[in-house]
């Protein structure tokens, strides 16, 4: 197989995508997997039924810290249809990390958090396994644990690892204390964000099948190769002995990156019993034993001079995590670069708690960090008597304010200005509580948005068959992001074939490894691999036609060049295949790459009850080339809605006595529902980022959530005059400060 490599060492001045006569890339093409999803024929992990399939139900620890001293399976084993109660030292206590082949923490004798998996009951039906799981008798010893991060914050220590250099632990420059003492206006306050659950609609599920020493696992995973490597390590196998299939994934949001306990349990049980085993987590288990966005306690200290120039930017975060785990919530990520200011400090510390594993959740760091930063900016703008947009414009940096590195592209100012115009920002009253419409106090709020753009190695095989059909194969996944469609669009454009001629096969670890779905990099990394393969195929087709590659046009299945017109099927023989490889290079570090945006919203707060309703929303984003306007807009909406939920309703509540997730279901953990969400106006600016990748595109998937909740909080303040710095902003936190019912001027 020929390899074609695109390595980002120099900018891509000229993308082939800009030479396509009538491109599909950039259009609002409906997703090509849509018909399968709306008819229920897309098959997800739990929807496979190999012969002899039996059902496993996970057992969980009903205490927060200590160890299991005895497991009595006798009663369960005596029940009809029960095949085994499995306890195995290879079982994992925590889920796996988002990268690397290291095994997650194994051994389920010790219990580090409430709800931790401790075994598996297998029976010939789900009903029998479920009933038997209730009859396994546990004896255990509890030990003192740390369950309250805020109360234990004095024990916080720096994180032990900077996660491949992606998460800076501590940076400082200038003199923050001096800047604080000299500032004309200062905000110094603490914002708190709670643990959150990814709560993907599809619970984690695995069907494990062993055959001839090979393990095949139908799983719901964002990055099947990472899952495969970790599962192989856990099981003591070579990666080549494990195959994971995840062609459809019912949502991930970071909660399905590393291998999770159900996959390990299914693999062990299937091996032990010699028959396929399905393990599907209950919703409660998803909440208790997969992962969460860690809670944060963020101190923001911002100072400015009388001219409204920031002189001080300080962001100190305390977060929590299980002992021994390296991931931490990097809440200061965007603070490094969003605004100018000479004296700066960004710091992170971690309290080791006995609570569910902390993992990446959609825009780790930026989502919660910008809640605090963008609210603090709103407060400081008010202290300076400046419009919050004007305040941001005065602090727009020319270059990265810490490193001095230029930005590859940065359209924050345009996003702020266009967003303000689309929303009608100038009609806002700056006085909080001044706008009342009947029983409702009305407020407008805004925030900036920023999300770092990442690039990672990714591979894809593109094959033109003898009949002219084209197949794309990569281990990359589509978790709702639009990958199937975007890759097909790129191929159709670059090879000049009809969309219906393109088959995209995803989520199989036997295919070329990708960077997976995460970090907003899925479309750009896998798309760049496809681009690399198609570029080489164009060279081959040109050579077969005897034309210089720069002179060819591919359209409608035909290659044309001066004096040449040949159907592609005449040029490929029995078929042509190239494996495209996208590799990060110097470009990805020489310049700072970030996607930007601005959010604007109207929130109505009931003057009597404090009930909050988001009534209107506009966001403007700049993220390089938009590959599919329809799916990108959906991604943006999804992020914004996550931000609204995070601002107003979402909170994973831990019992301070045990760390137990109290609200471990969708009835008590409140994600946004239809009635919470108005029409959302999303607009993308025209932009090309030639430094990012050959597509000239940047990441979109996580940008929407960044800052969105801060816009809500700032609007709530504008409506009521109440600053709530402890998220979510539930009405009980507003009631004490609502304006007297007679005070506001009605505009109706």
């Amino acid at each position: 197989m020929t390899e074609a490599i695109v390595k980002m060492d120099t900018p891509f001045a000229d993308s082939l995508l800009d030479r396509v006569p009538a491109p599909l890339v950039g259009t609002e093409l409906p997703r090509i997997d849509g018909p399968r999803k709306v008819t229920g024929t897309a098959r997800y992990a739990a929807e496979h039924f190999p012969d002899g399939l039996v059902h496993g139900v996970l057992l969980r620890a009903p205490f927060g810290c200590g160890r299991i001293t005895k497991v009595d399976p006798a009663e369960a084993l005596a029940m009809p249809g029960v095949l085994a109660v499995i306890r195995d030292e290879r079982m994992v206590r925590n889920g796996g990390g988002f990268a690397g082949a290291a095994a997650p923490v194994q051994g389920v004798e010790e219990v580090a958090y409430f709800g931790q998996p401790i075994g598996l009951v297998v029976a010939d039906s789900l009903e029998r396994a479920r009933a038997a799981a209730l009859c396994v008798r546990l004896t255990f010893e509890t030990a003192p644990g740390v369950f309250d991060m805020v109360a234990s914050r004095e024990t916080a220590l720096p994180p032990t690892d900077d996660i491949f250099g992606l998460f800076l632990i501590h940076t400082e420059q200038g003199d923050v204390a001096h800047a604080a003492s000299e500032a004309s206006a200062l905000v110094d306050a603490v914002w708190q964000t709670p643990s959150q659950s990814h709560a993907a609609m599809e619970p984690h599920a695995s069907v494990a099948i062993w055959q001839d020493g090979q393990l095949t696992l139908h799983g719901s995973y964002q990055s099947p190769v990472v899952t495969r490597d970790q599962l192989a390590t856990v099981m003591g196998l070579e990666p080549t002995q494990v195959r994971i299939l995840s062609p459809f994934v019912g949502g991930g949001f970071g909660g399905k990156l590393g291998v999770m306990p159900e996959a390990v349990a299914a693999a062990i049980a299937a091996q032990q019993l010699g028959r396929p085993v399905k393990v599907v987590m209950t919703r409660q288990q998803v909440f208790e034993m997969t992962g969460r966005r860690p809670m944060t306690y963020q101190r923001l200290r911002l100072g400015a001079d009388a001219a409204g120039q920031l002189t001080l930017v300080q962001h100190d975060t305390i977060t929590d995590q299980l002992t021994g785990e390296v991931f931490f919530e990097p809440a200061g990520l965007a603070t490094h670069l969003l605004y100018a200011g000479a004296n700066r400090q960004v710091d992170h510390k971690v309290v080791r708690t006995n609570k569910l594993l902390g993992v990446s959740m959609r825009a780790p760091g930026e989502a919660v960090g910008q809640l605090a930063l963008e609210c603090a900016m709103d407060e400081l703008a008010e202290a300076l008597n400046l419009d919050p947009i004007e305040f941001r414009l005065r602090n727009e940096p020319e270059r990265h304010p810490e490193t001095g590195v230029p930005f590859s592209s940065r359209a924050l100012v345009a996003c702020l200005k266009q967003g303000a115009a689309r929303f009608g920002w100038p009609t806002r009253s700056r006085d909080p509580g001044a706008f009342r419409d009947g029983e409702w106090l009305v407020g407008y709020g805004m925030s900036s948005a920023a999300r770092g753009n990442l690039f990672g190695p990714s591979r894809a095989r593109v094959r033109i068959e003898g009949d002219g059909r084209v197949t794309v194969e990569t281990e990359m996944t589509d978790i709702g992001t639009g990958t199937y469609t975007i890759l097909a669009q790129i191929v159709a454009d670059l090879l000049g074939v009809e969309l219906a001629q393109v088959d995209v096969r995803l989520g199989d670890t036997d295919d070329p490894a990708s960077a997976g779905s995460g970090g907003s990099w899925g479309a750009t990394t896998s798309g760049s691999a496809v681009y690399a393969a198609c570029s080489e195929l164009r060279v081959r087709l040109a050579a077969a036609a005897g034309a210089p590659v720069d002179a060819i046009t591919l359209a409608g299945g035909v290659l044309t060049a001066p004096g040449i017109r040949r159907p592609i099927t005449d040029l490929v023989g029995n078929g042509l295949a190239v494996e495209g490889v996208a590799q990060p290079g110097e470009s990805n570090t020489r310049l700072n790459q970030t996607s930007y945006g601005a959010h604007f919203c109207e929130v109505r707060v009931h003057a009597v009850t404090g009930e909050m309703r988001v009534a209107r929303w506009s966001s403007v984003f700049a993220a390089g080339r938009i590959l599919n306007l329809k799916t990108a807009t959906s991604q943006a909406i999804g992020g914004i809605v996550l931000g609204i939920g995070g601002a107003l309703t979402e909170e994973l509540i831990h019992d301070p006595r045990s760390g137990k997730v109290v609200n471990r279901d969708l009835g008590e953990y409140h994600v946004a529902v239809h009635a919470d969400i108005p029409a959302i106006d999303v607009h993308f600016l025209e932009e090309r980022d030639s430094v990012a990748n050959p597509l000239l595109a940047k990441g979109v998937g996580e940008l929407g959530v960044c800052g969105a909740g801060a816009a809500v909080a700032n609007a709530v303040y504008n409506a009521t005059g109440v600053r709530v710095r402890e998220f979510p902003i539930t009405l009980d936190k507003l009631l004490h400060g609502l304006p007297p019912l007679t005070s506001a001027t009605s505009r109706t």
């Binding site: 609609m201 996550l642 969708l666």
Partner: protein, 179 residues
Amino acid sequence: MPWIEANANVAVTLTVNGVSHRLELDARVTLLDALREHLRLTGTKKGCDHGQCGACTVLVNGRRINSCLSLAAMHGADNITTIEGLGTTDALHPLQAAFVAADGLQCGYCTAGQICSAMGMLEEWRAGWPSHVGEHAPAEAITAAEIRERMSGNLCRCAAYPRIVEAIQRYAGDEGAST
């Protein structure tokens, strides 16, 4: 414990999408699990198994229910419609086509429930069932606010909400125009 040791199977004939299936089921099998695990009609999804997310919504005699909250053995006399009974990839039901056109889906896991729920919801609207929004006027086209209120039992974590509302509104408008 006799309630567990009892190996009580029940015979039930489920009529799903016009086809009758004679089944011998553990009495504890929910309608949802009967559809997914026994009939392998996996278009209907299990998101929470507690009636909290709506992913398992099916139509029973034309009315939407959470199939996870109902035992299969209770449905011997019923006509059950699942997502597989609406349209096929080659011949989408107009509501399914409206979801694709509006991008009223992302990961696709809640989608069957959203679509079945919308079918039942629009029947409720036409039949004059009230809602909290209180704008009810069945002779008129359903408003976005009514759709949001009446669809709030169907969660979508990808948050395709505005586009689901658009799809339902478009379909309801076309239906209204054609009748």
